[in-house]
């Protein structure tokens, strides 16, 4: 019976179209379009300052877009009178009042959305914070605040969940727990969007990836497709006849870079072609070893051009 049941009847799509956010002369998000689908965990990746948080704030109606639109389930989230039954979110674990107890914080959120107050105890238990319910948030560690924020996100049992860097401050056990939770939420048919600036985190968490840099979309594809980009081979070569070999390889269309340890990194030619070229021209090879780029490397490669705050970058 469409239009009557609770929103959990189906996971809801997040859709950004030409989404743009400018702060003064800085463009934080630049004509960003993407779709986040239910049933999978979508990783929202980008280096620091790429515009992830600005984007998530616009999804939640906290910031107004300078241009473009973003909708959740076909409607700007900010137009809804109440939010928790539609989207659960954890943007910043510090967005709480330190003088409040964990229980009071959640009770106020539940009450405002007309949710039964028993949900407070339920979500506190779910995130392993039942014992800390009566403590003031001001004394919590970052990890505990993250758990409290996740409890708040789960309060309304929403079909869409947004998490901004949720793994920060969690211990390894907490990280594993949270990964399982994301998986479980997605398996229940919910839409789960998790941001991170670390590819390694997403590698074990996400099914789909949205990669942005400097506010622009770099890639929106499955983790498998993204990983396939990394199959571009780098070949490590050591040779006493470097000059001759460099000329030969570059002549064949490859790129050659001298590494600090004296080895050469060749991209654009497979190892067997390099070996044949060397053999044909009598070049001595001391090492010829292919490396598949890791996911982290291909992420770095994709985003390097777009890194906002590169260490030591001259301006």
């Amino acid at each position: 019976m469409p239009g009557r049941g609770p929103p959990r009847q189906r996971g809801r799509v997040i859709e950004a179209t030409e989404l743009t956010k400018r702060y003064g002369r800085t463009t934080a998000v630049d004509r960003l379009s993407f779709t986040v689908r239910p049933g999978v965990v979508t990783g929202f990746l980008g280096p620091n300052g790429a515009g992830k948080t600005s984007t998530l704030r616009m999804v939640l109606g906290l910031n107004q877009p300078s241009g473009g639109t973003v909708t959740v389930d076909g409607q700007p989230f900010g137009d809804r009178p109440r939010g928790l039954r539609h989207v659960g979110s954890l943007l910043d674990a510090h967005d709480v009042h330190g003088g409040c107890t964990a229980r009071a914080h959640l009770r106020a959120l539940a009450a405002g959305n007309g949710l039964p107050l028993r949900r407070v105890a339920e979500v506190l238990a779910e995130v392993g914070m039942a014992d800390a319910a009566g403590r003031r948030i001001g004394g919590f560690s970052l990890g505990m605040k993250q758990r409290l924020g996740i409890a708040a996100a789960l309060l309304g049992d929403p079909p869409v969940l947004l998490f901004d860097e949720p793994l920060n401050g969690l211990d390894p056990e907490g990280v594993r727990w949270l990964r399982n939770l994301f998986r479980q939420l997605a398996d229940e048919g919910r839409t789960v969007l998790v941001s991170s600036h670390l590819m390694g985190e997403m590698q074990q968490t996400a099914d789909e990836l949205i990669v942005i840099g400097r506010g622009r979309l770099i890639a929106a594809e499955s983790l498998r497709e993204f990983a396939a980009r990394g199959t571009q081979l780098r070949v490590s070569v050591r040779t006493p006849d470097a000059e001759i070999l460099s000329g030969l390889l570059e002549g064949a269309g490859a790129t050659v870079r001298l590494e600090l340890d004296g080895a050469y990194t060749v991209t654009g030619l497979p190892a067997d072609r390099i070996g044949e070229l060397a053999f044909a021209h009598g070049v001595r090879l001391h090492e010829l070893s292919p490396h598949a780029a890791s996911l982290e490397e291909s992420f770095m490669e994709l985003t390097t051009q777009s890194v906002e705050y590169a260490a030591g970058a001259a301006r």
Binding site: M1, L60, G83, L91, H94, V96, H97, A108, R119
Partner: protein, 291 residues
């Protein structure tokens, strides 16, 4: 239409609750009373104001008890009411109530800037995207609590001081102007709380909010005085403090209200206008600003 095939996550079986304003009132009520600072500010504020007023009554009762009463043998001591003791003033000692204005306005402001400075406002607005409803609920709860506090402080001040002065013309609520004074003083609390809430919503920072509150509520009415320029005085008249001073004035002793006096009706209008403007300003500024 295709049938619903998606697997349904099922933890909370209830349907989406209807958005009701009373839910937001409950949320703001919980937030207000979950902070220890609320109890401190309200408790200390109330006791201080009542204490100052009671001290004034006790001192005056003491003084009057040892004063030679008027007699026809003392022509230098005329029997004119403007020179005789006005018991109503002891319940409404100016500095005490000015302090009360700042305390109540601060509670209103804290309710807003506390959320902004902690970041809680983002959590709040993500949970309730209808921002105007949030601020309306906040203002309702804060002003209701302040109205109760105002009635308590005003009523207690009046009752205790007039009881202490029972031998020196202490008033009862039935005397002219007494009920009006008690009501005006009681309503000063929610009025200032609303102004504070609006200031908090506009300024959004602790120090800035408090400075603005003190300037608006205490400095402006003192600065815009004098009778040389009517417009200057009229600005001063339009401030809550001036309106309160007019409303708590004993009508029996209202002899010299100056060249450009505020009438009682105008004073009530000042109260209403400030409350209305505060609500409007707060509702407008929260509407679309990034948080």
């Amino acid at each position: 239409m295709t049938p619903e095939l998606d697997e349904a996550p099922a933890r909370l079986q209830a349907r989406v609750p209807v958005a009701r304003f009373r839910h937001l009132l409950a949320a703001e009520w919980i937030k207000l009373w979950s902070l220890r600072s609320t109890y401190w500010v309200l408790g200390v504020g109330a006791l201080t104001v009542i204490g100052i007023n009671v001290n004034s009554a006790v001192s005056n009762a003491d003084r009057l008890a040892h004063q030679t009463p008027w007699s026809p043998d003392r022509p230098d001591f005329p029997d004119r009411s403007e020179f005789s003791f006005d018991p109503l003033t002891t319940a409404f000692v100016d500095p005490a109530w000015q302090m009360f204005m700042i305390i109540t306005a601060a509670v209103g402001a804290i309710a807003v800037f506390g959320e902004y400075s902690s970041g809680l406002i983002r959590t709040t607005f993500a949970a309730v995207p209808d921002r105007q409803a949030v601020i309306a609920a906040k203002m309702t709860v804060v002003s209701a609590v302040m109205a109760a506090l105002g009635m308590l402080v005003s009523g207690t001040s009046f009752a205790v001081t007039q009881m202490l002065l029972r031998d020196h013309g202490g008033l009862s609520l039935g005397d002219p102007g007494a009920l009006r004074a008690v009501a005006a003083a009681a309503l000063l609390a929610p009025l200032c709380a609303l102004v504070g809430t609006a200031v908090g919503a506009v300024v959004r920072h602790a120090a800035g909010s408090v400075v603005t509150i003190v300037a608006l509520l205490l400095l402006v009415p003192v600065l815009f005085q004098g009778e040389r320029f009517r417009w200057v005085k009229e600005i001063g008249n339009a401030m809550p403090l001036s309106a309160w001073e007019r409303l708590v004035t004993n009508p029996e002793r209202a002899h010299d209200l100056g060249k450009y006096p505020l009438t009682v009706t105008e004073a009530w209008i000042v109260y209403g206008a400030w409350a209305g403007v505060a609500v409007t300003v707060a509702a407008l500024v929260v509407r679309r600003r990034d948080v």
